[in-house]
Subunit: 614 residues, 2 copies
Amino acid sequence: MTGEWVRRGGTPAAPSKGRLRPLGLKEVTLRPGFWHQRQQVNADKSLDHIEHWLTASGWLGNFDHAVNRQGREFSDSEIYKYLEALAWANDPALEDRFQAVVAKVAAAQDPDGYLNTNFGRPGQAPRYSDLEWGHELYCFGHLIQAGVARARAHGHDELVRVAIRAADHVCDIFGPGGIEAVCGHAEIEPALAELYRVTGNRRYLEQARLFIERRGHQVLGDIEFGRAYFQDDVPIRDATSLRGHAVRATYLASGAVDVAVETGDDELLDAVAGQWAHAVARRTYLTGGMGSRHQDEAFGEDWMLSPDRSYSETCAGVGSIMLAWRLLLARGESRYADLIERTLFNVIAASPADDGQRFFYTNTLHQRVPGAEPPAGQLVPRAASSLRAPWFAVSCCPTNLARTFASLAGYLATRDDEGLQIHQYTAASIDTGDIALDVDTEYPADGRVTVRIVRAPQTPFTLTLRIPHWADGATLDGQPVAPGTVRVRRRFTAGESVTLDLAVRPRLTFPDSRIDGVRGTAAVERGPVVYCLESVDLADVDFESVHLDPASALSDRDGAVVVSGRAVTPADGVWPYRQRDHSTGAAVEIPLHPYHRWARRGPSTMRVWIPTTD
Amino acid sequence: MTGEWVRRGGTPAAPSKGRLRPLGLKEVTLRPGFWHQRQQVNADKSLDHIEHWLTASGWLGNFDHAVNRQGREFSDSEIYKYLEALAWANDPALEDRFQAVVAKVAAAQDPDGYLNTNFGRPGQAPRYSDLEWGHELYCFGHLIQAGVARARAHGHDELVRVAIRAADHVCDIFGPGGIEAVCGHAEIEPALAELYRVTGNRRYLEQARLFIERRGHQVLGDIEFGRAYFQDDVPIRDATSLRGHAVRATYLASGAVDVAVETGDDELLDAVAGQWAHAVARRTYLTGGMGSRHQDEAFGEDWMLSPDRSYSETCAGVGSIMLAWRLLLARGESRYADLIERTLFNVIAASPADDGQRFFYTNTLHQRVPGAEPPAGQLVPRAASSLRAPWFAVSCCPTNLARTFASLAGYLATRDDEGLQIHQYTAASIDTGDIALDVDTEYPADGRVTVRIVRAPQTPFTLTLRIPHWADGATLDGQPVAPGTVRVRRRFTAGESVTLDLAVRPRLTFPDSRIDGVRGTAAVERGPVVYCLESVDLADVDFESVHLDPASALSDRDGAVVVSGRAVTPADGVWPYRQRDHSTGAAVEIPLHPYHRWARRGPSTMRVWIPTTD
């Protein structure tokens, strides 16, 4: 099976069962457009930048036993995510660099397969002495994911052997009769399930299943944040929502879907799908961002989605895409692709600077004070900086983005026995052998998507196109189509086209009245893109005064969406709670730009949700 | 000067200059009423409870060099705050217990005056090796405050000598030519200024001044939370608002007022008063609570006052009262007493359980999920528990409340050359020698306050009464009086009365439109008391559905305030952001109770700010 994947370029998740089958990275080629440009910046700029920082920070040097260890307890994982990115990029020009890093990693592996630069060496804490916070299995998970990527994209070589030795070690130590615990940060679970898919060795799947089932029975110690932080509060089959640390939650749920699909455990799959649906309906930002709480980078309770201090960690966006993609493959429902689209355009696209060398760690929906640009070349201790920073003390997001951009083509389309499904719209060429087609579009700037058949079988097949949930008024070849999916089944011939018009135009969106943090506001969206207001666009108007008229017409103007409203500033007082005052204010025009472009023109205040006039 | 204070019972802050002069704890006696009851519970129940936990936790045992140290780096300070509470209580029945604890503390002091159970012993980090987080000077500060309390309330004895040795040590080490730094947690500053007031030794005042001036010049290392966390970002003369960790901020500002007053530094006093005014106008909850952020227990930016995850630490309430009281003494303006009143009724009164043995650490304004009652006798690792807990891993609040309740009488009234000022209303007897009077009132249940003259001089004096800022419609002896203060100057005679009617009745309060977190809501207040809605009072109505009609009449009913409104529940969807829907709902009656009584009838959801109907 791996040889087949190597031919097709590999793919980030390869279930053996499910409604839809992923395509390989050689089967989908991004062409110039929104995502191609970002993938190129990742390849041309971010990978170099990351290796520079991994070296300068000493985190790569940690693999040399002789040095004093640098960085946090999970820094090994950044090297592994970087290797995963290189593996997906699978660029011969990067091969020497890849092998040099692999050699360092391989040399640090103990004879029994253990590998972690933070435990077990002289002067360090013993192996597995801090499962709550030590991140050892988490690091193994990312090592294994890198090995899986390499095996699928390139074939079995040294990194894959290192990963397999690590996985065997984990099964030896944590398998039946071994340590009856889990890691404080899920990640080993999807990694082992994926390694099973690569190797066919069921021991890895069984170990993943064991970790999934063990968690939730208070096998870890209590911590200040509570056991929900690492999902050890409630067994996964009993939980009703994603909860706790958002990255941990989405990684764990991803592993659970992998295990459920491979073992045919529909009860488990239903449980995770239900938790996802609950979290999307009540615990997710308009941007698709997940995680409301700074303190513990965690989901809030239902409706706790204040833009103030919204966290929406970039890595939680990555985890959310991992999870929704797996659910999409398993169940084929367009809502999973809807959330992936939203997250891609409003979290993943928002994080990196245009130069691919600075990143948002968090993606707030409301910036009250303009941030200060981090000094060039300086590691930033604070994740929640309001401008993109080159590197962080906890620098999980740059490498997570790198592996996501490098494998992005894998998320565009799928196959099933009936035909081919397109989930995300961007200029691309898709060639799956019997079916080949080109997608032409300026999306999301424009809603027209033309799918041109390049090669088609002699027999009919079904071309399925996603109609995003916001796309009221969409048409396919001029015929109205409703949100969800549209299926075109016929015998296609090379050269013919299908044209989808997604009615991309600005619209006002209002929040559920139970989301207290945004009561009395509206947001502007345009297609899949969330817009925001930045103070740099309001030279003569007090930013805090802007109120949008919910009856206003919305218009496109020079890349902005313009709405009308009023500037209402209450009188300043000694105490901000008083009798009701009905203020009117001067009429203002409010120009909004795509949220993913915010803070690219220097320090600014910003808000996604704009107060509305009465 | 100390001997005079001993005669008068001591007082929590005793500036040598300023508009108003504090009274001693023997000059003001609480009589049965709202605060007397709470002071009695503190004396009868909380002090025992605290000593039990200090012993059980091992924190008191830390003073014995032989044991393995228990608790966090600042646990010594809890013993000192307990000693301060005992000193203010000044109860002969507690004297043996007080002396036993003092003996332990004194025995642990090194010959050079250093005293901290967490540093400098074999196997511990060296003294002053972690000024950012070590809390050594913070602990000294509370030791000195305990010594000051003892000196003023009882006279110079062993604890005072220990405190003076500690202060001399601090001056030796951190004075001119010594370590040019400050402590990561302010507290030594007001303590040294107060010790100067007790001893007359200017060295302590000068050292307090030095600490105040040094801070803000980046003398501490950068930390994840940023240097604003410990107010080392900007010199205090240049800052525009209270900021960073709310307890640190209010303690530092208190010390700055002490130094400014004693050195005649009006520029410094103006700076702190301006920061206070800014924080009160833009960074303070309706309850008077300060600190919006869980992550770093810190003030948010302007208007960042979401009830979701509002923090409002009990200790920040204590710090706010310390600061406002000092500003009131310095400047005599009623707005400082207004905030003290608000904080007393809605933070300080909210924290302890009726039995005085469980406490809120944080005081949220919105509880979305009913909390779980902490197991009896169990230390709670999480400060933000939604039910009162007996003790916390960080247990600063119980001892801070204890010293506040024990010295509460000190905050009721003051003298100046013209006469006597009453700032807080509760049943009490005040006897300052030439002037003695009784205050009779059921406040805050009822707004009538009768001041009966018991003894008066032959010459006229001015009786000044505060009219709270909310008290529209107040009358004095039937004549309308406006919020602020009312001054009655005449020759009073024993037996005559002055009657103030404060028009305590329920009212709706609306937030400044710039506070995003509460847009489209209103709160109910009654006199100085903030009300809240608890789910236990809404048996048949979905808590999240309740909307208040802003035109509703408010009525008192059985201790509750009842308003009318509607139960509006949006349809559940897969995504909570959509086109506008205009929902109506069934009429409901909404009963609200005093916020300080919330969660006393078992687990409940709760909100202070109620969404309003359109």
